[in-house]
């Protein structure tokens, strides 16, 4: 096969047997790869009602047909499993260098089943795969583990691993690759830890073969020339200040979640904005494989209280650990980010859980004695300390390691958790960006912006603007962006480039550029319609997993704080999120029942019946 490698590695951790099998071409075409491939295998092999930490659950790492091809931002892989945080599926992706190196071994994906009796890591040297003991790195940070495993395998290999948080099943533990890139969300690292799998180390060789290299090269040149021309005079904001530059945008729209989602504006925003990050801590930009943007931030903090070195923070981290906790100390936020990377945790859930704890303490629902320290809004030292304790499940960290929903529930006030399907939201306030609320509620993985990101049309104006305060008509655009994201995530691309440069310039966002890349790479001869149907198929296949796990409209929800309490400050003052109205419209657009279940008709159309 071209584009795809045509092989899947199956690793049975219970028996220790690694076996290769061919990928069926029809599955490849129908599900594209990455996220699509992941849901295909989950639906085929995993009981949606299984315990996420049981041996029955499967952990899937899958690249896309454009991963490692040289297509701009074609650097990504997707991790999929049943999430211990949400009980739904999760798919969390990352870039860096690991995914490309993984694909160079000769496999498109690896499926882990069962559970090892003792800690192991998977070593893939080209097509040869073996499980090796990992007892000597159990308990080590992601950075220590990476260095140790490179030393005993090959210095040029690439590593994805868990830290102590994954081993201790922190419900939002991440899988870190290349030390600083995170498949961060929904506890994929905790599932890996539950299987006693510490790391995957890969060393491949050669290039990914392409069906039509000349066609690929010509189109690539055209796309990159257009990108470079567009950014020649004015560099892309993402390049200059990273995603942290978004603080300015959300603050000015009044959608920067602040004080555990009570309001959408933060007085201290200029101290945590991307310009400050660039001025104070940036050492250099970093880029994932094949990326012309380079939004990554290699940073160093010299402030003695929070000294450290690493990568980040991203916008989402700054919202969650900054504005949301009323913390305007960028050094502390950056330090807490480093700790999350080293212990292997999701920064969004971590920050949102600390913010939730701050409100629980303020309202008297969580005694400070139980926290073991004072915990007031804006306490930067508390953020850093609680982050560290959570990653090793020590003291109150053991409680925070369950995420904000379970924390608030145990304190008797689950309504104070900023979650959908028990997963914390990213940093866009739905009262002032209505479609974001719909996207959070209908994302298959719970609160997420990466499974279809309406911020593009509500806030960034890409490709065109819709009024963020209006809810009417948002369902159709949200559905289009969700389908596009399914295609991007499955192809192995990054949303940052693909939404702007590889989709049609209208709210239908047809994947016209991705189509050309995919056909040049794979020779699969997709029509535009077939590719768009594949996106819709993936969304519906995910929804079927959720349906069988017991999810329905009742779970496509937002906290009352966002749907019943009017925003108190900023441009969205007085507004609530009109989720129910948007959901009615959305289910119609999706051809799902009023309860959010895919109809037989739509399943038949998509070949899922």
């Amino acid at each position: 096969m071209n584009g795809w490698r045509g092989k899947i590695l199956r690793v049975d951790l219970t028996s220790g047997v690694c076996s290769a099998r061919p990928m069926e071409p029809s599955v490849a075409k129908d599900y594209i790869g990455g996220r699509g491939l992941g849901i295909h295998f989950l639906n085929r092999s995993v009981d949606p009602r299984c315990d996420p930490f049981s041996a029955e659950n499967m952990l899937i790492m899958a690249t896309g047909p454009l991963t490692g091809t040289g297509a701009p931002t074609g650097s990504r892989y997707m991790v999929m499993t049943k999430s211990p945080l949400t009980g739904a599926i999760t798919c969390s992706n990352a870039g860096g260098m690991f995914p490309t190196e993984f694909k160079r071994t000769g496999y498109d994906a690896v499926l882990f089943t069962g559970r090892s009796e003792s800690p192991v890591y998977l070593w893939m040297d080209r097509e040869k795969a073996e499980l090796r003991p990992a007892g000597h790195v159990w308990g080590k940070t992601t950075h220590e583990t990476t260095d140790a495993l490179l030393a005993e395998t090959d210095a040029k290999a690439k590593v994805a691993c868990i830290g102590p948080a994954g081993e201790k099943r922190v419900l939002f533990a991440a899988i870190m690759n290349d030390k600083h890139r995170a498949a961060g969300r929904s506890g994929v690292g905790a599932v890996m830890g539950s299987k006693n799998l510490k790391a995957v180390v890969v060393k491949g060789k050669g290039r990914i073969s392409l069906a039509d290299p000349d066609r690929f090269k010509d189109f690539n040149k055209q796309i990159l020339d257009t990108f470079r021309e567009g950014t020649r005079k004015t560099p892309l904001g993402l390049t200059v200040n990273g995603t942290a530059g978004v603080v300015m945008v959300t603050q000015n729209y009044g959608v920067l979640p602040t004080k555990n989602w009570q309001q959408g504006t933060f007085d201290g925003w200029e101290k945590i904005h991307g310009e400050e990050l660039t001025r104070r801590f940036l050492k250099k930009n970093t880029a994932c494989y094949g990326c012309p943007i380079g939004c990554g931030r290699k940073t160093r903090v010299e402030d003695l209280r929070f000294a450290g070195e690493g990568e980040g923070p991203e916008y989402e981290t700054i919202y969650a650990m900054g504005a949301n906790c009323m913390i305007d100390d960028l050094a502390a936020i950056t330090k807490a980010n480093y700790i999350c990377n080293e212990l292997g945790m999701d920064t969004i859930t971590m920050g949102a859980t600390v913010a939730c704890a701050m409100e629980l303490v303020e309202r008297g629902y969580l005694p400070e004695a139980q926290v073991g320290r004072s915990l007031k809004w804006g306490d930067a030292e508390a953020l850093v300390e609680l982050t560290r304790l959570t990653g090793i499940r020590e003291g109150v960290g053991d409680l925070l390691a369950e995420g904000s929903f379970r924390l608030a529930e145990r304190c008797g006030h689950p309504e104070l958790a900023p979650v959908s399907k028990k997963q914390e939201f990213p940093g866009y306030e739905p009262r002032g960006a209505q479609a974001m609320g719909l996207a959070y509620a209908t994302s298959p993985i719970g609160g997420s912006h990466m499974r279809g990101d309406p911020a593009y049309f509500e806030l960034f104006g890409v490709p065109e603007s819709m009024d963020p305060h209006q809810w009417e008509g948002k369902a159709k655009a949200t559905q289009a962006y969700q389908d596009l994201s399914a295609i991007i995530d499955s192809a192995g691309l990054c949303i940052f480039f693909a939404v702007r440069h590889l989709a049609a310039k209208d709210l239908g966002v047809a994947p016209v550029g991705i189509l050309e890349y995919l056909n040049a790479a794979t020779g699969a001869g997709y029509t535009l319609e077939e590719l768009m149907v594949a996106g819709e198929r993936i969304i519906n296949a995910e929804r079927m997993f959720l349906t069988r796990a017991g999810f329905a409209r009742k779970d496509d929800s937002l906290p009352d704080r966002l749907t019943k309490t009017p925003a108190p400050t900023g441009p969205a003052k007085g507004l609530v999120c009109h989720l129910d109205e948007m959901l009615d419209e959305y289910y119609q657009v999706r051809r799902w029942t009023e309860d959010g279940i895919p109809t037989q008709e739509v399943l038949e159309t998509l070949g899922l019946a």
Binding site: G237, G461, F496
Partner: protein, 76 residues
């Protein structure tokens, strides 16, 4: 009438004085386009918000409005 203008990012260079946030006195009926011309803000990668809501260049501002110019940024 009087409005408040806030310039962010590389647009700060168009401020008439030292401060990127300043008051501007205007004739009633002034549009965003008129203000761009007054401040010599060239066309480019920026977006305009009136009171936190996206506006086009032909939008008119009213007394007491806050007008934000910021670079076109996306991410997540």
């Amino acid at each position: 009438m009087r409005i408040e203008v806030r310039l962010y990012g590389d647009l700060k260079k168009y401020a008439p004085g030292d401060q990127p946030q300043f008051a501007l006195r205007l004739e009633p009926g002034a549009t965003v386009d008129d203000i761009c011309r007054m401040l010599a803000i060239s066309e480019g990668h920026h977006i305009t918000l009136i009171n936190g809501r996206r506006s086009g260049t032909d939008a008119t501002v009213a007394n007491g409005d806050t007008l934000v110019f910021m670079p076109l940024i996306s991410g997540g």
